[in-house]
């Protein structure tokens, strides 16, 4: 630890040291300059001299010492020294000087400045800082953090010397600006945690290279962030000197595509509407903003926003139809079709660059979207009463809805087959006239619904109320929205009732409602009288369809269960109890019902950089080892894990591959290993945090002092040069000034007192 690195102007101390000689020289000169007196009373004088010589010498020495000290103090004061952390440590064992650099590599650092970006400029400044430090004699070490991964430093306590310089420069060069957004609260906390684990006897200076975006320092969680940041900075400034190095600029004009959404359920051969939201974060209105929508490598569509006022958003709609040659699929085995059901289409939405328009931050002008398009909606019909005559089977009319153009991919199994079927590939399951399943299957079904599956219960004559209630209802705990009581109605099919649609309707019956009186001609002869669990109606259970009988029995009830939904009908899907299935209204209702139930699964938030993505992995079909290929083509192996929160003993075959902290924007590919050795890719896209595009800056001059106190100072990149040796902590020149004043007063007082005692009275 070099002594001079404690000072801003160490050479001033040198001057002070030189100035120490001034009083000594004056003293010596004074000795040479004397008067000569021929004296008679020499005896007395010699006597007096003998008695006083030591005292006079001591007094002179003290005065000389004080004057020299005063000179040294002046020099020291002008050298502007500072203390590492507190006084005790200075004199104890301070050994080195550590620069802790927290470099903002958030997306907003990619703002373009000419040919380079703000981040590049910050890197250049950092490198020149290192070069200077390496050539100076002082002893610095470097610890470098990035805001995107503050949990572990890029460079840890590495000495900045000539030998390590090239490596440091290379490391700095290799730094790439991330697509993440900066979380200073978290970053500072991590830095603090890191420093807390380090030696204390080191003089530390913290440089926070930030573009000072308001969004990062105040923003969204305004009630939390500033306080947290202020607290963190206050904590840090007590252990290290703090400088906020402003590496941003004041250009705020920026257009961004903040979001792209599609219809919940994207099925091939149906028109899907994509909504792209464009925001103008700048200060001037943008005219004629062209937005390009491109699916894969196909010809793009371009839509134009005539004018986008500053601070406003505008949404464009791009309809698109993914056509799949169904005829070719018809020949395929259903199982194979189910496996290859999802086709991932990558869609790129971007702003068409316009030379006339300033768009400071290009990365947020594009948006990647992955549309997991289903070539068909996989539906499983479970027949509780199979019959060799198709028309007599329970699921005949349901299965009949799977025709070209509906996008359904239906599979029908019997009650016994259902016990072993892999559920995860289906989106909707109809349990037709099923009254009981094994306990394992029940748990699997419940888990499947919890994960977002759509279940339809259609109990009929095969069902015994007691069993059904035990398995499905369980007094409101089970899947069924209702419990069965008894069969009602007329076995002779003489009396019948119709439907009464509840006010507000239901998506499944929208066709029936839109076409007046279509339900009027229906005849419901028999039905199960049902009971609802207490307090569930209006909460998790709703009843959109009633019977018109005098008891106003339930025809259809819905219950939400986990992420999924369960619809219960009080009659089966065959012709035994009603004449509805062949009715023209039946197919649209079933079709809408399937879409309604299936879409509940597809609802997902846009995945953002820094966020996470989770994919269910059905271990019955896939290996738990999965590979992630990121947008740059780098592959990471990972392991799917049991879904947390589920019962450990449930032995669920549904695992989850979860990727946290996505660092890059773009399209990712998750590769699932099928048990037959083939790879099944799952695509998803991560996009940048739209708020990063808000380039407004924190007015440090206005709020800086209020936020951080006077311990933290802001410097520009240019000013960084002059700061290279500054340490930060507490400059002590005011104390030195006080000490100097006291010293001079003491010197004067002593001089006067010595003089007085000599001249005597």
């Amino acid at each position: 630890m070099s002594f001079v690195s404690w000072m801003l102007n160490p050479w001033m101390l040198g001057l002070g040291a030189l100035a120490v000689s001034v009083p000594i020289i004056i003293h010596l000169l004074n000795k040479r300059r004397f008067k000569i007196v021929d004296w008679a009373a020499m005896d007395f004088l010699l006597d007096a001299d003998k008695k006083n010589r030591r005292r006079v010498k001591l007094e002179n020495f003290i005065l000389l010492l004080l004057r020299c000290l005063a000179m040294l103090l002046i020099g020291l004061m002008l050298a502007r020294p500072f203390l590492p952390s507190d006084l005790a440590k200075v004199f104890a064992r301070v050994q080195q000087h550590e620069w802790v650099v927290l470099l903002d590599d958030s997306l907003s650092q990619q703002v373009q400045v000419g040919q380079s970006s703000l981040f590049d400029e910050a890197k250049v400044a950092l490198k020149s800082l290192f070069q200077r430090a390496a050539t100076s004699d002082s002893d610095e070490t470097l610890t470098l953090f990035l805001t995107s991964q503050p949990d572990k430093p890029i460079v840890s306590n590495k000495p900045i010397i000539a030998d390590s310089l090239s490596e440091l420069l290379r490391t700095t060069d290799e730094l790439k600006c991330s697509d993440m957004s900066a979380d200073y609260s978290l970053a500072l906390e991590d830095v603090h945690a890191y420093l807390a684990g380090q030696r204390e006897d080191v003089n530390r200076v913290l440089y926070i290279f930030s573009d000072l975006r308001k969004r990062d320092w105040m923003s969204e969680s305004a009630e939390r962030a500033p306080n947290e940041i202020v607290k963190k900075i206050a904590e840090l400034s007590s252990v290290a000197g703090c400088f906020v190095v402003d590496c941003g600029n004041d250009r705020v004009d920026n257009l961004a595509i903040t979001d792209v959404r599609a219809d919940d359920l994207q099925v091939a051969n149906t028109v899907i509407r994509f909504q792209a939201t464009v925001a103008n974060y700048g200060s001037v209105a943008a005219r004629d903003v062209d937005v390009r929508f491109q699916v894969g490598e196909e010809a793009p569509q371009v839509n134009r926003i005539p004018e986008l006022a500053p601070g406003h958003q505008s949404t464009l709609i791009f309809p698109y139809l993914f056509s799949v040659d169904r005829a070719s699929q018809e020949d395929q085995d259903l199982d194979l079709r189910l496996r290859n059901n999802i086709a991932y289409h990558t869609i790129r939405v971007e702003l068409v660059p316009d030379a006339k328009r300033i768009d400071s931050l290009p990365p947020d002008s594009g948006f990647d979207f992955v549309s997991p398009t289903l070539s068909g909606l996989p539906v499983l019909f479970v027949d509780g009463e199979p019959n060799l005559i198709p028309e007599r089977s329970e699921t005949y009319f349901l299965a009949a809805t799977e025709v070209l153009g509906t996008g359904l991919l239906a599979d029908t199994v019997t009650h016994t087959e259902f016990e072993t079927v892999s559920l995860s590939k289906y989106k909707v399951i109809f349990l037709c006239n099923i009254g009981e399943v094994s306990a394992d299957r029940r748990q699997a079904v419940e888990q499947w619904v919890r994960d977002g599956g759509g279940l339809v219960l259609m109990p009929g004559s095969q069902v015994r109320a007691q069993e059904f209630n035990n398995v499905f209802f369980r007094n409101g705990q089970g899947l069924s929205p209702f419990g069965l009581v008894a069969e009602q109605g007329d076995n002779n099919r003489q009396n019948y009732f119709g439907f009464d649609v509840a006010p507000g309707g239901h998506p499944a019956v929208r066709v029936a409602v839109s076409l007046d009186n279509i339900f009027n001609s229906l005849k419901i002869y028999k039905w199960w009288s049902t009971v609802l669990a207490e307090g569930q109606l209006g909460q998790s259970v709703s009843v959109p369809l009633w019977l018109t009988d005098e008891k106003h029995s339930i025809a259809m009830a819905e219950r939400s269960f986990g992420k999924g939904r369960v619809i219960g009908f009080s009659f089966p899907a065959d012709l035994d109890w009603t004449d509805w299935p062949p009715h023209p209204s039946y197919a649209p209702v079933v079709f809408d019902l399937i879409h309604y139930l299936a879409s509940s699964i597809a609802k997902q938030d846009t995945t953002r950089v820094g966020g996470s993505f989770a994919q269910l992995v059905d271990l019955s079909a896939f290996d738990s080892n999965v590979a992630l290929v990121d947008p740059d083509g780098e592959t990471t192996e990972m392991l799917a894990k049991p879904i947390t929160g589920t019962d450990e003993s449930s032995q669920s075959v549904l695992y989850q591959a979860r990727i946290d902290g996505l660092r890059k924007r773009g399209v990712y590919q998750l590769q699932l290993m099928r048990s037959d050795g083939q790879v099944q890719p799952v695509l998803f896209a991560a996009n940048v945090n739209p708020s990063e595009g808000q380039l407004e800056r924190l007015d440090f001059g206005q709020v800086g002092a209020e936020y951080f106190g006077d311990k933290v100072s802001r410097v520009s990149l240019g000013e960084l040069d002059s700061l290279q040796f500054s340490g930060g902590h507490n400059e002590i020149w005011p104390q030195l000034l006080a000490a100097l004043a006291i010293l001079l007063i003491v010197e004067q007082a002593l001089g006067w007192w010595f003089g007085r005692s000599r001249t005597g009275s």
């Binding site: 004397f34 008679a40 005896d43 004088l45 007096a48 001299d49 006079v56 001249t759």
Partner: protein, 307 residues
């Protein structure tokens, strides 16, 4: 200008310094001193009343006290003590240490010489015999007491002529002098007395043993009494070969204490020997010397009469 101011002026050493001739100096001092007195001090002591005595035949009738006769009807003779001629020897120290002050004006020797001259002049006026001895470590010059007017001139001439050169050593000198001066009289010593007080006492006692009256004019330069030096100074010994470079302010207190201690010793020595000690500051006018001499003289006479 009033007479008092005039006299002060003439008694002031600075003024006197400008007058080179010693006789003029001495006259000015004495006359200035005399003019300063309200009553001339030397009117009543030429003939002093001593006692009454019954008339006896043969006595001069002029001496009969007629006032006593008119009251008592007896004839008494007023008897006066005849003024015997006083013999006064002035001992002037002409050692080198007396030269101090010559650079800044009057040296101690100048002062002592002028004082001695003034005294001689005064005594001459009173018809007393005055002798002069100048000494250092030996007797430099001896002029036996005489009342002759030309004798005064000789003395003044000698005082002007002598340059203080040698060191002081009174031991032998005073012994020799005590033997030389046989006739009882007054010994007036002008010296800075930079001697061992014990030696001083012993030697002065020699005079006392021979029944001389001794008055010591202790000539001290103002600088020696006050030590007013401030700047860094190299002190060189006048009589001893010693140098001391020092910061005078630092030593002043101790120096003054040493001087004070020495003065006390000298005073004690003088007092035990019955010697009058008069401290003379060269910055003060000379009248102090003369008046203290006169008061000394009167005191002695009274003591004599009382005996």
């Amino acid at each position: 200008m009033s007479s008092a101011e005039t006299s002060q002026k003439y008694l002031d050493p600075i003024t006197l310094d400008r007058i080179k001739r010693m006789d003029v100096r001495a006259r000015l001092v004495v006359e200035g001193f005399m003019t300063g007195q309200h009553r001339s001090p030397y009117h009543g002591f030429a003939v002093e009343f001593a006692t009454h005595r019954e008339y006896a035949p043969g006595d001069d009738l002029r001496h009969i006290d007629w006032k006593v006769w008119s009251k008592t009807d007896r004839l008494y003779i007023k008897e006066y003590e005849a003024e015997t001629n006083l013999k006064c020897t002035l001992l002037v120290d002409s050692s080198k240490s007396m030269r101090y002050g010559e650079k800044s004006g009057w040296s101690k020797f100048d002062y002592a010489a002028t004082a001695a001259a003034s005294l001689a002049y005064l005594l001459q006026q009173q018809q007393d015999a005055v002798g002069l001895v100048m000494f250092s470590n030996k007797i430099e010059q001896t002029l036996r007491p005489s009342t002759h007017p030309s004798h005064l001139k000789l003395m003044l001439h000698e005082l002007e002529r002598v340059q203080p050169e040698r060191t002081t050593d009174i031991n032998d000198v005073f012994l020799a002098l005590a033997n030389q001066i046989r006739q009882r009289g007054i010994i007036a010593l002008f010296s800075d007395l930079f001697l061992d007080p014990k030696v001083l006492g012993a030697t002065l006692n020699q005079f006392r043993l021979r029944r001389h009256e001794v008055i010591v004019f202790h000539i001290m330069h103002h600088d020696e009494l006050e030590f007013p030096f401030a700047d860094n100074t190299l002190f060189r010994g006048l009589e001893v070969d010693v140098q001391l470079q020092t910061e005078p302010r630092a030593l002043r207190r101790s120096y003054l204490e040493a001087v004070e201690r020495y003065m006390a010793q000298v005073r004690r020595v003088c007092a035990t020997s019955g010697i009058d000690h008069v401290l003379v500051d060269t910055s003060k006018p000379l009248d102090g010397v003369l008046s203290s001499y006169l008061s000394f003289r009167q005191r002695r006479r009274k003591q004599l009469l009382r005996r």
